[in-house]
């Protein structure tokens, strides 16, 4: 740790296209993340980030093939899933009808569009804080985050901040050392960089 910020950060390459932008966002916070492609790479990491853009089934297949599903379940370090990476933390996803990591209870569902309600949910939307968490330190309302997704997880006990697009859904989750952000903190301007910085400083009980 340097200045309270974790400096050994493992960034998992699960084939997601936003790997670069997450790495650059960490760089802007002074952290040079390691790109990790298999379970061995996780050794010694103080923080692990699972970013993701793409579909649930191929991403899970890749994690299993590289032994990362088992390694992520056994991990002691705080883990942050971003966008699809957050969805993979749950039990299962309707997208491709696939079993996910099972670190958080719940099923990822397809978002329902309607007249005036476009899916994918794309753009800046407001966060609503559901319960206090060190991960949300310094976030003043109204706070906007950038979302791009067509599937979402329900608001469960693990939800610390929600968002509404038609129905409310989980924007930010936390349970023990597991955290998730449905939006893209790496593309959410000052709000996003505060949240990422909080994750790097976070000491979950």
């Amino acid at each position: 740790m340097k200045n309270g910020i974790a400096n050994d950060v493992a960034l998992i390459d699960a084939g997601g296209a936003n790997l670069g932008s997450v790495r650059y966002a960490l760089e802007r916070l002074g952290v040079d993340a390691r790109i990790v492609r298999d379970a061995n790479g996780l050794h010694g990491a103080q923080r692990v980030i699972l970013p993701g853009v793409g579909a649930a089934a191929p991403a899970m297949a890749l994690l299993r093939e590289r032994g990362l599903d088992v390694a992520l379940r056994a991990l002691d370090a705080p883990l942050l899933g971003i966008c699809l990476g957050m969805q993979l933390l749950f039990d299962a996803s309707e997208e491709g009808d696939v079993a996910c990591l099972g670190l958080l209870p719940g099923t990822v569902r397809r978002m329902q569009g309607s007249a005036g309600l476009r899916v994918p949910h794309m753009g800046w939307n407001t966060l609503e804080i559901i319960r206090e968490s060190a991960l949300l330190d310094g976030i003043a309302m109204p706070a906007h985050a950038y979302f791009v997704h067509g599937y979402a997880t329900p608001v469960t006990d693990d939800c610390i901040a929600s968002c509404t697009h038609g129905d409310p859904f989980a924007a930010c989750v936390q349970r023990g050392r597991i955290a998730g952000m449905q939006f893209h903190p790496e593309r959410s301007a000052d709000v996003g960089s505060t949240l990422l910085s909080n994750f790097l400083r976070w000491n979950p009980e």
């Binding site: 899916v119 753009g123 791009v148 960089s193």
Partner: protein, 256 residues
Amino acid sequence: MLSRRIIPCLDVRDGRVVKGVRFRDHIDMGDILTLARGYRDEGADELVFYDITASPQGRSVDRDWVEQVARVLDIPFCVAGGIRSVADARAVLHAGADKISINSPALERPVLIEELAEAFGVQCVVVGIDTQREADGQWRVRSHTGDPENMRAPGKRTLDWISEAQSRGAGEIVLNCMDSDGVRSGYDIDQLREVRDICHVPLVASGGAGIAQHFIDVFRDADVDAALAASVFHSGVLAISDLKQGLRDAGIEVRL
């Protein structure tokens, strides 16, 4: 509530930002990174970089500046121009772009939309459409508009192409109304309303912004998700921070 987005479009030629009127007579507007950072600080919600030389010259986007932009920018950005394969798109996305926008190559080979949606998810795949009204009153698409000498009219009705693009996996549509582009007399509300009726994915209006009222009109009357503009921002006629405050005062949801 989901905010309406304001998107400055930076036309890139040979690594510099340029702007022309009705797609012609390009003049130098400045350095990519300086402009990108400036718009981010003013409150732009997203940026589009359109490599106007890539498509007509049959080459893909030069990746170097994409990576430089990705390093400094903490808002989303989309790259357009000359992306004609999954490999082209992957290179741009891996360099750090959030979305890729395809136009002429999708018209030439519509299955490209499906290939990209399959590879990266629909949320990455933007289909840009250049459209002009013809003598029979129908709007039809144009391709290869980056170079006026090479512009083509494939004959497709704009509305038909939008339906097809959506069913193939377009995650967002940018409708560039060429009749109003660069002349700052307002967005093409009539056309955008017709398109909105059949467009179920996010719709971005492009072409014609001149004053703040044009943005209010296009959000109110055409219910678009985002409004894209170039010269009105590059010239300094309209500051994004003032524009967004004006939109909020008019009751339109924006991120301030």
